[in-house]
Symmetry: C2
Subunit: 481 residues, 2 copies
């Protein structure tokens, strides 16, 4: 058993050795995804999909609480619609998949598989919207989108991914801005509350904003390896699309008006972030709120009288409290194998229950993030576990936050930053004049990009750290996925 | 107001005048769907999508209760995979959409937009399956599929539709057969319990079965106009695909074996059935269990003191009981307009609450399927409504069943049936020898098809009603959507 355990752990490449292989190993050993026969497209396997379902149901509930309804728009978009908004088509045309034949017939006009749905949704909104009384339009869709990618990585960048895209229309700019930030805030809750993944929120630079947006807002998370992940974006599209698509309505004064427009999305990419923020060399570490199974009971010496009975009794008690629990009484696998298996799968808590434990009215519990044995009483075990899960959730958040803070550097000298970056990956905070030249220079010289202009500005001096001219913004800079 | 009401009702074509226009009117006036810029593709608007969400959550829960997990497979399937199972490619190739370009590059191999996912799923199952210990595979996916259709109709036949497709593998034929029928039975619950839509369950003929199946089972519902709707199918695929895709595993005796395979699906087509079974000339009639909103409260003379306050109090009380309730206190619309609006939308119950009602501690309630005013006490109104909703659900089911029975005919003479069919549309029960020639003749001469060989066989004689030879099966025959 000891040997087996060793072999087992060896299957995951340590992250210190090769972070990228560690990431892939954790994903493949856990059967979260697999590569499909079409390059760049992945299959999301049941354990990976279960994580997506948790994100979906959490976010969907928040969307509905804030008055949004779901709908579904066609997968295929005529080329002529895609090209209506100039910046948008320039941004997306190079990476779309084109349908040219339906059955045996060549189509009169090529159709693209949606890379995002602004264009077809605007086409329909034009048809539907009449009066200011119809506003706001608060709609969302859950679907997959296709963007032809040259190099891909499971969850982080794939040619097809699952996401939701919200598309709203408003009477005033102020309302659209409020909506844009409200949805970014819901995304922050998905990241921080559900996934225990701390994020920095702020605005994207002009260069990094969505193709066709007036302004893009983002949440950025820091991974174990010090690289950033753009984890969700919310766009104020202004009237760019509504004018291009001639979406008009009769305003309060009787005049024709163009509505203000937002769109916002999160995707299966979040699962990549979840892994790279919490997991370790033994495999996944899942925060309790998102874990498909929160507690696993492993009976020890289960053939001994009373062990299985007591295990089942405890299972029922825990389940009745609403905890997602499994009981593994499979005699085909050793206890050691089971310990390893559930550690790899990132189950938050395992309970070991043997004859002596039962005699002493206790159980051994092990939290996945600590891997230390604790003894707890069988009295009120459901309550104790419930508290442990809550504590673990907040501990993971604090741990990730501490990691981020330990890897966030205040830049005082740009030349020094360039030297330090290779050995000190992480977020760099610096001042920026706001010009594109400095942004391009930063990228070229360091490979890092402006992740965002955070809402929480700090005063780090009055000069741009790159060119020395007057500074406009404090920015977060990092290499990113 | 009286005039407005009349105009309003006039907008829906009476079904007796033109059933097809009635159907489209009900859908379009209720904004359930809209036509998209790509022919044959529809947009599912929020009220339509809400119906699909109810079907989804009901079915998904049943799938999970019976041990199934969800996953997600790529949208695009290489042509070479599609062609691996001979009957399957013949069935689907004529109606698939082909992707030939990714970005600006022409692809080496054409990719089809999935019309159904057996082929790509089998390709992955081959990779994953090792041992009998891994079986059964009980997986499902929610997604959209594309089938290029020449003539389309909202919900019933569209070039893209939303559905779920279950794909399972089993050690023995018996297990796969049990699974096939278990899932058909879950579909029957979706239809009968959730949607109050009675169905006949049975087996499809060889001609009508799924391309590549060993046997297809179906549930068939009868619409208002006497036409049948295939509302869900479950296929025992035998080893057709597992052999074509070389899915092998090590069996209990150490020998390599091919697993037995099932697939099963229901789609947004069900919503078409829902409409054509329950709705009327005033618009939708929704069974309470599937209705997004079950009760609407309409305050009368709401500016009078205490009316809005009492309405809100009742709203809270009803909501607390878990009933999906709305309160329409919009002063911009007249009460009459509201009555019509919610009748058209098919809300199961409306409550009218005016000053005099409050004085008398009562409310006026109107059930959508009866349109008669009833007086109920405000004491325990939540309980009363809950019971009314239950009764309405079963009344709608019984009403639909009575309609089906009134339109189910026992054929004694085939020539007579041919003469009667144009004026007596509905299910015809008759005996069949089982041969393809009689099946083709029936279709050619009447336009009707064999809907199924029902599990509940009745003895209607020992001769085939079409050719007079020895009968093998009792069948249900009808014209179908």
């Amino acid at each position: 058993m000891a040997k087996k355990e060793k072999d087992f752990v060896k299957e995951i490449t340590p992250m210190e050795e090769d972070f990228s292989r560690w990431y892939t190993d954790v994903i493949m050993k856990n059967e979260l995804v697999d590569y499909s026969p079409v390059k760049g497209f992945m299959v999301i396997r049941p354990y990976g999909y279960a994580l997506w379902e948790k994100i979906q149901s959490y976010a969907d509930e928040k969307f509905k609480e804030t008055g949004h309804k779901n709908m579904y728009f066609p997968l295929l978009i005529p080329e002529s619609l895609l090209t209506k908004e100039k910046e948008h088509v320039e941004g997306f045309a190079p990476e779309v998949a084109w349908v040219t034949h339906g059955g045996s017939q060549e189509l009169g006009e090529r159709l693209c598989v949606r890379p995002t749905s602004e264009t077809i949704i605007c086409h329909m909104y034009k048809k539907w919207l009449n009066s200011y009384r119809d506003l706001p339009y608060l709609y969302n869709q859950w679907c997959s989108v296709v963007r032809w990618e040259k190099s891909t990585r499971p969850f982080l960048r794939t040619s097809e991914f699952l996401w939701q895209e919200g598309h709203t229309l408003h009477e005033t700019y102020e309302e659209s801005q409020e909506e844009t930030l409200k949805m970014l805030n819901i995304y922050k809750e998905v990241a921080e509350d559900l996934m225990a993944m701390p994020v920095v929120v702020g605005q994207k630079s002009e260069k990094e904003k969505f193709a066709g947006a007036f302004a893009t807002y983002t949440m950025e998370a820091l991974m174990h390896d010090g690289q950033a992940l753009q984890a969700g974006t919310s766009h104020n599209l202004g009237q760019h699309f509504t004018k291009a698509f001639e979406i008009k309505y009769q305003g309060r004064t009787g005049k024709e008006e163009f509505p203000f427009h937002t769109s916002w999305g999160i995707s299966t990419r979040l699962i990549g972030g979840l892994i790279m923020v919490h997991s370790d060399n033994r495999g996944l570490v899942l925060p309790p709120k998102i874990a498909p199974t929160q507690v696993v009971i492993i009976p020890i010496a289960q053939k001994k009288e009373g062990v299985l009975e007591k295990s089942n009794e405890i299972f029922d008690k825990i389940k009745a409290r609403g905890i997602r629990v499994e009981l593994d009484d499979d005699l085909g696998n050793s206890t050691g194998w089971k310990f390893n298996q559930y550690e790899m799968k990132g189950y938050p808590i395992r309970i070991e229950l043997g004859p002596r434990d039962i005699e002493n009215n206790q159980a051994v519990v092990v939290r996945r993030d600590k891997l230390e044995k604790e003894i707890i009483s069988l009295d009120n075990i459901d309550e104790t576990l419930s508290e442990m899960l809550d504590t673990m959730q907040s501990d993971l958040f604090e741990k990730a936050k501490a990691h981020r803070e330990a890897h966030t550097y205040v830049v005082t000298d740009y030349e020094q930053y360039k030297k330090d970056l290779p050995t000190k990956p992480g977020f760099a905070k610096m001042m920026w004049c706001g010009c594109r030249e400095c942004e391009d220079k930063l990228k070229e010289e360091t490979g890092a990009t402006i992740r965002c202009i955070p809402f929480e500005q700090e005063d780090l001096g009055d000069k741009c750290h790159i060119c020395g001219k007057e500074a406009k913004h404090m920015i977060y800079v990092a290499k990113a996925y």
